[in-house]
Amino acid sequence: MRRTTVLVALAVLIGLATGCAKVEDGPDPAEAAYDALKTAWDEAETAEAKVALATDYLAEYPDTSHSGRMASAIVYYQGHEMADPQGAWDVVSVALAQIDDPERRFEVGMEVFDLGDSVDLTLNIAVIANDLGGVRSLTFDEHETVAETAIELEEWTIADEHSLGALEMATPEQLRADYPDREFSDEEVAVRVQRRQASMLTTDGWALFNLGDPELAMNRFEAADEIGSETYLGVPNTPLYQYWGRAALAEGDLDRAMDLLGAEVLFGEEGSLAKPYLREAYVAKTGSDEGFDEFLWSTRNRLATLADDFELLDYEGNARSLSEANGKVTLLAFWFPT
């Protein structure tokens, strides 16, 4: 969840800087206060200063179109930067109790779930989701967020329910409806729908495994694998190998566990999370930790593939290619300036 936190925080900053809010003519004290907050925000240099601004705003105006953004800022700066999740939860939960609009409650509630690994929010996840569910159907993204948060909180029944809810929404029609302003080609739609399906089958598999139904869980994992949604290096861009591998390890299918977790450790998006389980599978298989590094090295050599060459311009306008670095050890880093 750390990574989503950073992205969310960026959204908060951008949202505040550009002022997404529609400013009505006439004296709306909440909007006037929001404008003042934006100015002060640009000058606030510390997390403490930002938290103070957002906290004051939320205390005065708990139920506005800015509530979600304020909650997000408090969760990020107080909960994570200042390492005070309980304090963040205390502030936001007071506001939450004063919000009548179910959509806004949900929006704020979703921000708060990001504290879920440090604060006991177990009950709120189901309550808030049901709350909104009573008003309208949840979108794919909302089901997905609830399912993934429930996984982190080890609330397996909720994770199962919302993974299935999300799966129902994982269709081309629904995807196009979710992005009315985007002109996706059929191919792009297919790729995104595949990812949605593969990802939610994976989440559901892990929920089912923890609910004590390994057989159905394995079916879900296999179905996710068949649909496929892979990175450049051929490892799923979902937690499939992570969960499937751990399930295989728990079931004593050590060869499969080592295959799945090995690929994830070397080439997966959350490789470092898989490494302790890979080690555990290796020890279970061989009886000791000895030779683990060699095992990892041979796995690496077995799975490694040639990097595709490309040509791009440098900042002086010279054409450069990846193959220029042939014979060297090369770190190819994709980045963007902030």
């Binding site: 080439f267 490694a304 990097a307 193959s323 060297k328 090369t330 770190l331 880093a333 300036p337």
Partner: protein, 100 residues
């Protein structure tokens, strides 16, 4: 941000045959050049040409930044890493050493 923290690794290992190629996935020339200058980055920095962003992005299927691929002397991708949090450079350094 990741890139400045790679500069010391580059300086430490470049004489042993280590190279860094950084590709700006968003093609923001002005920001990128300013960033490179301010941080004194001396390894290879590439700019996405018009349309190339899709080619590189689609080819390497980069979904999030920073995404890093470590390639050995034979041109094979031996390690992938997503994100860059404090401490990640130690892991990366170990991987680099194992390939040099």
């Amino acid at each position: 941000m990741e890139l400045p923290r790679l500069q010391p690794l580059y300086e430490k290992y470049k004489d042993q045959g280590f190279e860094i190629i950084a590709v700006d996935g968003k093609r923001d020339t002005e920001r990128a050049t300013k960033f490179i200058e301010e941080n004194g980055l001396t390894y290879t920095m590439l700019e996405n040409g018009e349309g190339n962003s899709e080619i590189v992005g689609a080819k390497y299927k980069v979904r999030a930044y920073p995404s890093s691929f470590l390639i050995d002397r034979n041109g094979k991708v031996m390690y992938f890493h997503l994100g860059f949090e404090p401490g990640d450079e130690e892991q990366l350094e170990e991987e680099i050493q194992s390939l040099l």
